[in-house]
């Protein structure tokens, strides 16, 4: 295909991606260097029969004029990145200087909003992803062995948790684990503790979110593995059987190696999707105990008075850096494959 025809076919798609994905990233980078205007205050003197009082208020007119002039705010350089709600260099130095032991350092770092979100996001990504792959694989093996007539309905119901919106899915579970809901009541009866609530402690909230994550994504791994199982070469399986391999050995030495590329694919998709986990935090109202990087950005943009664009943009830039670090091995591998082909 000639360059010209290629461009003729692809330009609308490229334009959309440049305008609404590439440029916004530039815009985020630009915004992260600015910070909201300081409030312009004015003093008003009220004189009444009992003397004069001065009151201080925000000068709305002057503020509007300022915003008109510089919509992004005033220039702050890299200040936003370094402040307490982002990388918090000063706070970290202070914590290391004044803390007695490791436990204290940990608790104090967990109180810094950015690190709290980063640690949860990483924990979620690296705990949910392997569990999804393992559970999905087990379901696929088992479903593959049941009678054919049952497979359709099983796949139908398995797809639900994955295709339903994360927000809706997490709400459905959230209502069930409510202390007045069915699972919440069941757990209370099981542990004989009428005050047990999954929402109360950070640990339980974390576990609930991990369980949700696995529930939501396992069907994806299941379907991919299930499709892969249909293509496992039967003669290899049979020759393994002739060689006296047991059922488990056949899975271990034939099926698993054969499905390895699929596991890599699932891992890649899951890493990308789990790193941006966001809706479950809202669905489970978990923000007090667990936040994620995406949630921090959302929260800044939703700030009560006016959106904190600078702060949201700085968190966004740091998140993007995280995504790129996460994808680096994949990109490198693709690059090597591509060069080998060329």
């Amino acid at each position: 295909m000639k360059h010209k025809t290629f461009m003729a076919f692809i330009w609308p798609s490229l334009l959309a991606m440049i305008l609404f994905i590439a440029l916004p990233i530039v815009s985020v980078g630009y915004q992260s260097l600015f910070i909201e205007h300081e409030q312009v205050l004015k003093e008003a003197k009220n004189c009444g029969p009992f003397g004069c009082t001065t009151s201080v208020s925000v000068d709305a007119e002057a503020m509007n004029a300022l915003r008109e002039e510089q919509p992004a705010g005033r220039y702050n350089g890299l200040g936003t990145y370094a402040n307490g709600s982002h990388l918090a260099f000063d706070e970290i130095t202070e914590i290391f200087a004044s803390s007695q032991n490791f436990g204290e350092i940990r608790t104090r770092i967990m109180n810094l909003p950015f690190y709290k979100a980063l640690i949860f996001t990483l924990a979620y990504t690296f705990i949910v992803t392997p569990l999804v792959i393992i559970l999905g694989f087990i379901i696929a093996i088992v479903v593959n062995s049941i009678p054919k007539a049952l497979k359709g309905p099983v796949i139908f119901f398995s797809l639900l948790p994955m295709l339903v919106t994360p927000l809706v899915g997490s709400l459905v579970l959230f209502w069930m684990i409510d202390s007045r809901g069915v699972i919440g009541a069941l757990l209370q009866a099981l542990f004989q503790d009428p005050s047990l609530s999954l929402k109360a402690s950070p640990t339980l909230t974390w576990i609930t979110l991990f369980v949700y994550g696995v529930w939501h994504s396992a069907p994806f791994a299941f379907v991919v593995f299930y499709a892969g199982l249909q293509t496992v070469p039967q003669d290899t399986l049979e020759s393994a059987m002739v060689d006296g391999a047991s059922r488990w050995e056949r899975v271990r030495f034939v099926t698993i190696p054969y499905l390895m590329p699929l596991a890599t694919f699932i891992a890649l998709m899951q890493l990308m999707d789990n790193f941006r986990v966001f809706e479950p935090i809202i669905g489970f109202s978990a923000a007090a105990n667990a936040t994620t990087l995406s949630y921090l950005i959302y929260n800044d943009l939703r700030a009560a008075e006016s959106p904190l664009f600078g702060s949201a943009a700085a968190t966004s830039m740091l998140t993007i850096v995280g995504v790129i670090i996460l994808l680096l091995p994949v990109l490198r591998r693709n690059w090597r494959d591509f060069n080998r082909k060329a």
């Binding site: 076919f9 919106t165 994360p166 927000l167 809706v168 069930m176 007045r180 809901g181 993007i320």
Partner: protein, 293 residues
Amino acid sequence: MSIPAHRKPPSLILLSTGFVLFWLVIAAFPFLWTMWGSFKVEGDFFSRADWMNALTGPVTVKQHGSAFTLDGYEGAWIQQEFWKSVINTGIVTFFVVTISLTLGTLGGYALARSEFKYTFWILMAALVFRAMPHVTLVSGYLLPFFEMNIWGYLPTTIIVLVAINQPFTLWMLHSFFLSIPKDLDEAAMVDGCTRFQAFRLAIIPVMWPGVVTTGLFSFLLAYNDFTVTSMLLNQDNLTMIPKLNGFLGSTQEDGKVMYAVAAVVSAIVPLFVLILFFQRQIVSGLTAGAVKG
């Protein structure tokens, strides 16, 4: 097949049947439970006394005379105007699917047929774009959109969703096009077709399965989106998912939480129907990326 070596010991059959049932309960029970519960009043769905109340609904019987009530649905759809959001969701999904498929088939075809180095870079860029958390992009849009005064309109949201959807659509259609032999369009061009005619007359007719599958996933993305729609639409033209999230914030009073339950069920039912009809396409779509690339 009943070759003796393939026959399984009964203990294994028991174990695997048990596991499948266990998984089915985990996957399906929450939805069935919520659907059943959405026809009850709050006192039953969130019962302090006994969880069995959610099944039999004694409070619902006391208040309405029957074990089922449409109160939640009436409150959500009519009182809180959920029907408006349903229409908005319809508009948004329709246009997102049509536009992303049009752009995606053109682009995916070009990527599958060109052998120059830049196709690799475009695909890699698309992969990185696909991994971007949507909310980081939204924080890039908000300020410019406010400045240009295009914030809060459906068309803006549609275009943004199309763009966010492009990397995925391109990858998927690209791998579908790769599976169609090159000879097909080359033969058409030998017969005197231009490149575009070959694309339209020779390739598109055999591409329908791929287009339908990709369309399904574009639909799901637009239908399920919360991040973009909740930040880019104003209160009057929200789509279903952000609207339903609004119910949670404003309706802490007695009984109102059932509006949210009813809305959640209303949002799930279309997906149920979708899976019912398109199960095979969805499964093939999920695996298309895996098997081919």
